[in-house]
């Protein structure tokens, strides 16, 4: 409880500084969250240079649209994570990126098929910790697609040929397992 309180308090300070456009917030923001956000972005965009561009865009957007963040609706990190994910997905779906990454798409597909066949999965290439691979593959696939690959839950249901309710349940189960690990 003590640590949780300390985090939320510091988050409150961070939010205030961010809203006031206090330059102290920049350094704190970067120190605390740049690697976590870069982790999120790198899952979606494997091309390092492009991922770095997106990280830069993400911080710029967080900084410039701090006004629009409402702390009553969720945690700061959730908001930042979704900014990073949306920018990553936009980049992934942009025309120029698609054109320059046709080859990589095939690799991704091979990866994906490997996971489905339960062939041993080299998490290090994607920067994943061992913990992720301990999720049940069915849950993991769904979370992967929604969280890492930029699919919407509707697109995921179509892609995996599953009912929408099942996709929702599997996302929930996957996150529940993560909660067991962390909380």
């Amino acid at each position: 409880m003590a640590t949780a309180k300390k985090i939320s308090l510091s988050e409150e300070e961070l939010v205030n500084a961010l809203k006031k456009q206090d330059t102290i917030a920049i350094k704190a923001l970067y120190d605390m969250y740049s690697s976590a956000l870069f982790g999120v972005i790198s899952r979606i965009i494997q091309h390092t240079e492009v991922a770095e561009d997106v990280l830069q865009e993400t911080f710029l957007k967080i900084w410039n649209s701090a006004e629009s963040y409402d702390s009553s609706k969720g945690r700061l990190f959730t908001w930042m994570m979704n900014v990073a994910r949306n920018l990553s997905i936009d980049k992934l779906r942009s025309k120029d990126f698609k054109n320059s990454n046709k080859n990589q798409d095939i690799e991704n597909n091979v990866d994906f098929i490997d996971q489905q066949k339960k062939v041993s999965f080299n998490a290090d290439t994607l920067g994943l910790k061992e913990m992720v691979t301990t999720l049940k593959p069915d849950f993991k696939n769904v979370l992967d697609m929604v969280y890492f690959k930029g699919y919407t839950h509707v697109e995921t249901a179509e892609e995996l040929n599953l009912p929408l309710g099942t996709v929702k349940t599997r996302v929930r189960m996957a996150i529940l397992e993560l909660r067991k690990k962390f909380n």
């Binding site: 690697s35 999120v40 710029l60 994570m81 979704n82 929702k168 962390f182």
Partner: protein, 277 residues
């Protein structure tokens, strides 16, 4: 409570945290969270799990990128100057050329406008003088035309008068002015064979009438006046045929209201003359 539990288990809160819901759905979730503490707690738990998950899988970006991002953000003015000049200068380049072209076009347009207005003014003044000339020419033409028609009219009358003097068939009756109009005079031609009566505008000089009156020719037959018809001051034909009369001792002209009268107005008699065939 069952409702809240089912809502939590539907998985919608996970999608909410993952940013997968529409604005409307988000609004619904936020309304539910405000109403039920369990839902708010559940959202927080999901958020913390995803946050821990992200921190666990963090990848540290290069130090170079850190400097780049921090310097970009710490000076908002340079951020804008750094971020935009590339784009702005590119656009300015093309815009300059465009503006230059447009300026030339504008100057050309203005010059053309000035020339056009000058030309228009000169043409307009020429047109006005042409109109004036046309008007004066047309007045002159009308004058000539009326002169010519008068001459034609007189010529026809004169020809008839000459013809009358050269034949024995027609008797010429001279009507002279009475005391009201001593200067008035007129000739009446009377055919000896078929008793036709002709008058000739070239052979009359009668006092003018007003618009509501005209002349009436009378024959005096055995002391009674007989109307031979009316004639007006102006006519298209120089020679006019009147009523035929078998015999008459005298002819007279009176001024009568338009259309003529049954009996002559004696005090309005202007010419009179005795006749014998």
């Amino acid at each position: 409570m069952e409702e809240v539990k089912a809502y939590i288990e539907s998985g919608i809160l996970e999608l909410y945290v993952l940013g997968q819901l529409s604005a409307q759905e988000c609004y619904e979730v936020e309304a539910m969270a405000a109403k039920h503490a369990e839902i708010k707690a559940e959202i927080l738990a999901i958020e913390l799990a995803m946050e821990s998950y992200a921190l666990e899988n963090a990848i540290t970006p290069s130090a170079e990128l850190e400097n780049q991002i921090l310097s970009q953000l710490s000076s908002p003015t340079t951020e804008k100057i750094n971020a935009e000049p590339k784009i702005v200068s590119l656009y300015q380049g093309t815009n300059d050329a465009k503006i230059k072209t447009l300026r030339f076009a504008l100057v050309a347009c203005l010059a053309l406008l000035v020339v056009s207005v000058a030309a228009l003014i000169s043409v307009y003044s020429k047109l006005n003088s042409a109109h004036d000339q046309i008007a004066s020419l047309s007045t002159q033409r009308d004058q000539f035309a009326s002169t010519v028609s008068k001459l034609e009219f007189t010529k026809a009358g004169m020809e008839n008068r000459i013809a009358m003097t050269e034949t024995d068939e027609w008797a010429t009756v001279k009507l002279a002015g009475v005391k009201n109009s001593p200067k008035a005079k007129m000739l009446v031609y009377w055919n000896k064979n078929n008793k036709n009566i002709l008058i000739n505008y070239a052979a009359m000089d009668l006092p003018k009438t007003d618009q509501s009156h005209e002349y009436q020719l009378w024959a005096l037959v055995d002391g009674k006046p007989v109307s031979l018809g009316v004639f007006s001051e102006n006519a298209k034909e120089a020679v006019k045929q009147m009523e035929t009369i078998e015999k008459a001792q005298a002819f007279a002209v009176t001024i009568e209201p338009m259309g003529g009268s049954q009996n002559p107005t004696m005090e309005k008699m202007i010419v009179m003359g005795g006749a014998t065939i």
